[in-house]
């Protein structure tokens, strides 16, 4: 009897997490394949390299997951990243560390707030709003930077980047902390649960008396905040930032989240899925590099995997709802 209920629980677990499990298996297979085909892949230095490569995109993907869960989308995430980062770096270099960080943080949050306000209060389409702000924020970067990079940042940033706890580099630590806090936020806070509820059916939340508009702003502000965190660890590592730093990150963050099984319709998805999606993209890029595949071909592969992931989810959903 007990065994039976346990096996029931197990099948329920599999069913509820089938997507994460599927992408997870793909990740493990890739990992094994690259370990065999490339002698350098499993070297510690390379593994750290992968972790660095996914740290910024990972943080952005976590933020993007929250927006997608409400049924929205944030296309301006890369522009917010660049704008807050460029201002931060410029001020850190010219004025001081604290001033730079404060300004970068404020700009990140402001960018997110503007998106959230337009989406939730004026009820404009998130796609259109953030397509607009993507252009606006990036335009402002060009205006103030004159398309120039900020480099030769103060040594303090390098120190932060090299900081290690028990041998774990600071950027990995930041990624882990962001992931953990976000996971707790989505699972255990009222706002987190409301994000799922609103994404799943906004009207039903309204008819339960939920002040939907207040909750819908939150994920966009989190995007602004996390975009700042991401750009901070990336510029500390590179000791520079240029005016196109975040251009690819808009769509890459969405790609990782979608591969991880979060639905663009909202309400369905998880941060664990996103983490696996990010790792998959990171391992794939790194492994293909090791094998000498050109970065042009890598873009093609990522596109194919994205479509494949979506198609397999689609097939699953239609077979469930066919009734």
């Amino acid at each position: 009897m007990k065994n039976n209920s346990q096996s029931k629980k197990f099948t329920e677990f599999i069913r509820n997490n089938s997507n994460e499990i599927g992408v997870g298996i793909a990740l493990i297979v890739l990992f094994i394949v690259f370990s065999i085909t490339s002698p350098y892949f499993l070297k510690t230095k390379n593994l750290y390299n992968i972790l660095y490569q996914i740290s910024a995109i990972g943080i952005l993907a976590i933020a993007q997951t929250m927006v997608l869960l409400t049924g929205g989308i944030d296309l301006s995430i890369g522009s917010t990243f660049t704008l807050s980062g460029w201002v931060m770096c410029f001020l850190v270099k010219e004025v001081g560390l604290a001033e730079g960080l404060m300004a970068g943080l404020a700009i990140g949050i402001l960018c997110g707030f503007i998106n959230g306000f337009l989406v939730s209060v004026t009820q404009l389409e998130p796609f259109i709003v953030t397509l607009g702000t993507m252009s606006i924020y990036h335009g402002i970067v060009y205006i103030i930077s004159n398309s120039k990079a900020v480099s030769n940042l103060p040594v303090i940033l390098e120190k932060i980047d090299n900081f290690r706890v028990f041998g774990i580099p600071s950027y990995v630590l930041v990624l882990l902390i962001v992931f953990l806090l976000s996971y707790l936020f989505l699972t255990y806070t009222k706002t987190g649960r409301m994000i799922y509820a609103i994404g799943s059916n906004e009207l039903s939340a309204r008819y339960s008396g939920v002040p939907v508009y207040a909750y819908k702003i939150v994920p966009y502000i989190i995007v602004g905040f996390l975009a700042f965190i991401a750009v901070f660890i990336q510029s500390a590592h590179l000791m520079a930032i240029d005016a196109n730093a975040g251009t690819n990150l808009n769509l890459d963050s969405i790609t990782a989240v979608v591969i991880g099984g979060t639905s663009l319709q909202g309400g369905r998805g998880s941060l664990v899925g996103t983490a696996i999606g990010v790792l998959l993209i990171g391992v794939l890029g790194n492994g293909l590099n090791m094998l000498g595949v050109s970065s042009y071909w890598q873009r093609v592969v990522v596109g194919v995997i994205l479509i494949f992931a979506i198609a397999s989810q689609k097939i699953k959903i239609t077979s469930k709802t066919k009734k």
Binding site: T189, S200, N201
Partner: protein, 498 residues
């Protein structure tokens, strides 16, 4: 009468659930064949197999003398079989005429749509069927009311000169006048020797329009082709639920009505209703009758605070609550069970437990919540409502319609509100569950709750409610005491004077 279609040993399963199990049935020309059964009995599935929307796992279909293992929409169209499904399939951004004639070859000249022709044809159909209340043929469908859209869908099916027409609960979104229109259409089609299959929940309709009735239960036939004229409602209900329901509504007993709880005075929203005044008391069930679009739902949404009012007062236990947000009103003791379960009611992709605790979680001003903490309470409420489920973690859309309705009620029970507003609480749920909903409402009244029930089923209002408010074009037309309320009297007040 000549046989038009026969199905033999049809079986169909979805996943592990058997929707149909070896069904044999025949359909004849010029006959209205009603199919009844509780939710999940397989009625819609049968219709969809006949219309070629679903493919059966086993069995065969014989149309006149042609035998098929399965149909698909193309073959069904060639055989002139059509189905008006519950989910409307119209294209909202196209006009009425385009929706009706878009897929007909004759609407095109050299590949170009002949708008003049299809508009003329559409207007002719309107005339032919006496549909003067529809706007012109070139109106976009998105500008029509839900009921008008349903009529367009029906006209579309009729315009194709079909041999066999399946209606899947066509009247759930229609008001009384439109139901009359539909029935006169059906009578005409019958004369033209069309075979009609009518899937319905409303027993009254069977006796009004049906020739034979087949009762399905759990995917199997309980009674096949019973002639309607030899049948009474009581017997039919017995076949449907497999047990005897002596008094299916269970008339509400008279209990002493207490002090006023909710007092509405002169309420207007400037669009849908004006100068609405009424009072609900402790232990009272106040019914709201009216045509679709009369403004009943809008009044309730305004009381609940998700629709703006322009004037008037709402008092709860003597306290003015006009300016409060919905959340604050809920805290004071108002609850609202909306119509349209899937649209407004439930997040059907989320587990049952998340749905059940949604209201509770919203009311608690806490930063951290753990859904597990609601578990005991949820289990208790589920038991009280006799909810049929295997785990509270299963998704809400895996439940039947009646059980989904219970989850919707469950959301509010935890709050112990003093006012319950039910908007069409029994729409689209089976007879057995309906009785349970009535019992629940009566028990709440016994506990001293004030209850508002909006319903389009007059019989149910008369049986359950202490008083019935009739809303006509956004105004209170009349308030009946139960002892004075009869169907004809209420109907007379419902219909606008032109």
């Amino acid at each position: 009468m000549e046989k038009v279609l026969e199905v033999k040993k049809i079986s169909k399963a979805f996943g592990g659930i058997k929707a149909l199990l070896g069904v044999d049935l025949e359909f004849r020309c010029g006959e209205v064949h009603c199919i009844v059964g509780e939710n999940g009995a397989g009625k819609s599935t049968l219709g969809k197999i006949i219309a070629g929307i679903h493919t059966p796992d086993q069995g065969e279909l014989t149309f006149k003398d042609l035998t098929y293992k399965e149909l698909n929409p193309t073959i069904a169209k060639e055989l002139r079989i059509a189905m008006v499904t519950q989910e409307l399939n119209l294209m909202p951004h196209l006009t009425i005429a385009e929706n009706i004639f878009m897929f007909e070859k004759r609407s095109y000249i050299n590949g170009i749509l002949n708008r003049k022709l299809i508009n003329r044809e559409t207007e002719r159909l309107f005339e032919q069927f006496n549909l003067s209340n529809l706007p012109s043929a070139s109106t976009k469908v998105e500008n029509l009311t839900l009921a008008q859209q349903q009529i367009v869908e029906i006209i579309k099916a009729i315009s194709q000169k079909n041999n066999l027409l399946i209606f899947d609960e066509p009247t759930t979104t229609l008001s009384i006048t439109e139901v009359e229109q539909l029935f006169s259409l059906i009578r005409r089609l019958k004369k033209e020797n069309v075979s009609i299959i009518l899937v319905t929940h409303r027993l009254k309709e069977i006796f009004e329009i049906g020739d034979v009735v087949t009762v399905l239960c759990d995917g199997q036939i309980v009674k096949s082709r019973l002639p309607v004229k030899d049948l009474n409602e009581h017997e039919l209900v017995k076949y449907m639920v497999g047990r005897d329901i002596k008094d299916f509504f269970g008339v509400k007993e008279e209990i002493e009505i207490g002090r006023p709880v909710l007092e509405i005075e002169d309420l207007s929203d400037g669009v849908s209703f004006r100068n609405i005044s009424f009072t609900v008391h402790e232990s009272e069930v106040l019914g709201f009758a009216g045509l679709i679009g009369a403004g009943r739902t809008e009044i309730m949404e305004t009381i609940f605070g998700i629709r703006e009012q322009i004037s008037g007062s709402i008092r709860l236990n003597g306290e003015l609550i006009n300016t409060l947000t919905t959340k604050q009103r809920v805290r004071k003791g108002i609850s609202f069970v909306p119509e349209d379960r899937k649209g407004k009611g439930l997040a059907i992709d989320l587990p049952i437990c998340s749905n059940m605790s949604q209201v509770e979680m919203n009311q608690k001003d806490r930063l951290i919540v753990n859904e597990r903490q609601f578990e005991m309470q949820n289990l208790e409420i589920a038991k009280k409502l006799a909810l049929k489920y295997h785990s509270l973690n299963q998704k809400a859309n895996s439940l039947s319609g009646g059980n989904q309705q219970k989850v919707l009620l469950a959301k509010w029970l935890s709050q112990n509100p003093s006012v319950y507003i039910f908007d069409e609480p029994t729409r689209g749920i089976d007879v057995g569950t309906k009785t349970e909903v009535y019992d629940l409402i009566k028990n709440l009244a016994k506990e001293g709750k004030a209850i508002i029930m909006v319903s389009s089923e007059l019989q149910e209002l008369i049986a359950i409610c202490d008083r019935i408010v009739v809303i006509n074009e956004g105004r209170v037309a009349e308030i009946f005491q139960r002892k004075d309320a009869t169907e004809p009297k209420i109907l007379k007040e419902m219909i606008p004077v032109k």
